[in-house]
Symmetry: C2
Subunit: 410 residues, 2 copies
């Protein structure tokens, strides 16, 4: 994880902005409308469309064995390494909906292919990815969704950039839309949007991310860049390595800039974008009152460091202590002590926001007085058995989290 | 896990009572006093003493790599398979206290050996187990503890059964003491006490259990019985298989009944006792409003069933849903879907309290209307890929849990 860039910051040889999204690159259009899937009447259908001339694409999907219908569909479509459009809905996950749910996804893609073709862009359903987010287990209201697909194409065709509306339309319990854009001085660009808010236990925190770029790149290049970036960012946002039934991260490249960055440049830009969107997701996590990063250093390997950091980041007692601004370092030791990694149990050191609280597995002077009342807590654990380091982003465990998650479906 | 026996129930060929504890068998004495370790002035020091004629013993300890000083001490002592006494304190875990903390444990055992010898029972420190529970990271107030060791021996010597006071003295955030006793018709008996209350994330939920019996048994027999019982009970209480720095379960047999039960009889009695104490621990877990059992059946093996049940039992979103009495079965599917076990993702069925809510991975009619407002929720998940079954006990995730755990050390 790199340090979180602020909007306008120079990163990866370019400029990162949070004021633009998926339509920042050349040749991408987007729209967001209210299809009536959400009872609230809020925006709930988003479209991202690539005008080409190329349609290279890559995707990373949930590792959950229970996969939503749109994930099964989009994985299949991505086999071709080519996407013209992504249609996303909030208000329903279309997960655990059986063969009927898969037919709904398929019908949505077919309907969009037809609407885009009518609009003048010959498109097949096999060039369209579908994403859904919301409650698991209910069928989508297709009587509302299918007419809305035609409407959103009309909306996209008529207007200017609809990137902001698209970012709004994929929100569930998110309180703010998440967008980012990256501009490389050699005149190629990248845009992105993300949603996801249940960060403390991401097994139902569907994360949807769409990245767009006008760079020239092959599907293989995109796949490399995307896998590398998600491994270091979204995979380390929180906790237990678990994924929802619907998690999807897509990257579309249309070559409209006619600039072909090197793999290293592409990697750096995708990493910077994913890192910034991950930071935005953490900051808006359900019920969060603290932004927490956990670094484990001195582990036998990066993998062991990551396992240790996850064990701490997912520990409910550690999270509750942070909610209470309590520098209870003993809970950090107890949490890392159960991780299946190599430890020297009497040589572990811990600091909170740079203040040593535990040295060689015993309390440091003043440890109980360290002030954790601010919104950011950085935990650093030094194992002293090797060179492996990894950082995980997480949050505290608050009343707000329990409140938000104890009355979701009913 | 057997069904939870009620007090007075016939189990394992005998009678189980909750009105007696460690002094129920012949030849055991106990006491509990206020040593001043707890600032509140409540009971905080307990003693369990075996009058013999035999002193066979076995112990099971935390798997946490970060082990408290008393665990390191008691593991060493148990190498000899022999115990005359157990001294237990609440008000401080004596964990992460370095070599000085270990010396404190050693000094406590030496002091008790001296006091017992002065009282007329020649005892060595190597026959004494030590247990501590409370906050990690602080040294114990030895100026209060050492004089209290002499006092508690005097207390034990003077009075009648002090089992109830001992069970009180080991409480931390427990709201009630936990005791049980088992009487076999062939006139041998077993007693026990337990403490532990942070059940939702047991990495700091120190569990201390002392079991006593007047049966004749070798250390090897006790070890077999204890490992078998803890595997099926305390190891399946909650969640993520994690242990605190201090978890200790001890079993002492003094042969005072002169009856030598068979291994099967001993196994059954120890299992019944551990099961009942585990049920008492769950019912008193921090902030609990629901007692939850999760059974996974039809897994490839018992081990895979257990992995699946733990994944569900530890999922924060599942726990929050139960706190809200929300029959959100989709979260159960998402949770089991990330378990590293063999699944047929479209053939999973779930019931809540016997009501089918999900059949073949899609919602059952009426699933959203299932009433979970009562205090007990039984989740049954049928995987349909084998014969393996396992059950885990857990609780909901409530405001009370967050409250209790967000201000512990400060």
């Amino acid at each position: 994880m790199t340090d979180t860039p602020v909007s306008g910051a120079e990163v990866a040889g370019g400029i990162l902005l949070r004021t633009q999204g998926v339509t920042a690159p050349l040749g991408f259009r987007a729209a967001g409308i209210a299809a009536g899937i959400k009872a609230s009447g809020k925006l709930d259908l988003a479209l991202v469309f690539s005008e080409g001339p190329e349609y290279a694409a890559a995707g990373v999907f949930t590792r959950n064995q229970v996969k939503a219908a749109p994930v099964l569909w989009s994985q299949q479509v991505l086999g071709g390494g080519r996407l013209r459009a992504v249609i996303l809905n909030s208000g329903g996950a279309n997960a655990c909906t059986g063969p009927g749910g898969f037919q709904d996804t398929h019908a949505t893609a077919e309907e969009l292919a037809k609407a885009l073709s009518n609009w003048g862009t010959e498109t097949g359903a096999g060039e369209i990815a579908v994403c859904s987010t919301g409650l698991i287990g209910d069928r989508l209201p297709m009587d509302k969704l299918l007419p809305a697909v035609t409407e959103i194409v009309r909306e996209m065709g008529g207007g200017l950039s609809g990137g902001a509306e698209a970012a709004q339309a994929i929100m569930t319990t998110d309180t703010v839309p998440k967008q980012a854009a990256f501009h490389h001085p050699a005149t190629w660009n990248m845009g992105g949007m993300a949603k996801g808010a249940g960060m403390l236990a991401p097994s139902l925190a569907t994360m949807l991310v769409v990245l767009t770029t006008d760079a020239v790149a092959t599907p293989e290049q995109l796949d490399l860049a995307l896998r590398n970036a998600t491994r270091l960012t979204f995979d380390r946002l929180d906790v237990d390595g678990s994924c929802s039934t619907n998690d999807t991260v897509l990257l579309l490249a249309n070559g409209a800039s006619a600039v072909a960055p090197s793999q290293a440049e592409l990697d750096a830009a995708v990493l910077a974008m994913c890192d910034d969107l991950a930071a935005q997701l953490m900051a808006d996590a359900e019920g969060v009152t603290k932004r927490v990063t956990v670094t484990v250093a001195g582990a036998l390997s990066e993998e062991e460091a990551l396992t240790g950091a996850r064990a701490i980041a997912r520990d409910s007692l550690v999270k509750c202590a942070f909610f209470g601004s309590d520098p209870n370092w003993g809970r950090v030791l107890a949490a890392v002590g159960i991780a299946p990694i190599t430890l020297a149990p009497d040589r572990i050191s811990v600091s909170f926001n740079g203040n040593p609280v535990c040295v060689n597995s015993t309390g440091a002077p003043g440890a109980r007085e360290v002030d954790l009342s601010g919104p950011d807590i950085h935990v650093r654990v030094e194992l002293g058995v090797g060179e492996g380091t990894a950082t995980v982003r997480t949050t505290d465990l608050s009343y707000g989290y329990v409140e938000e998650n104890s009355a979701y479906s009913s």
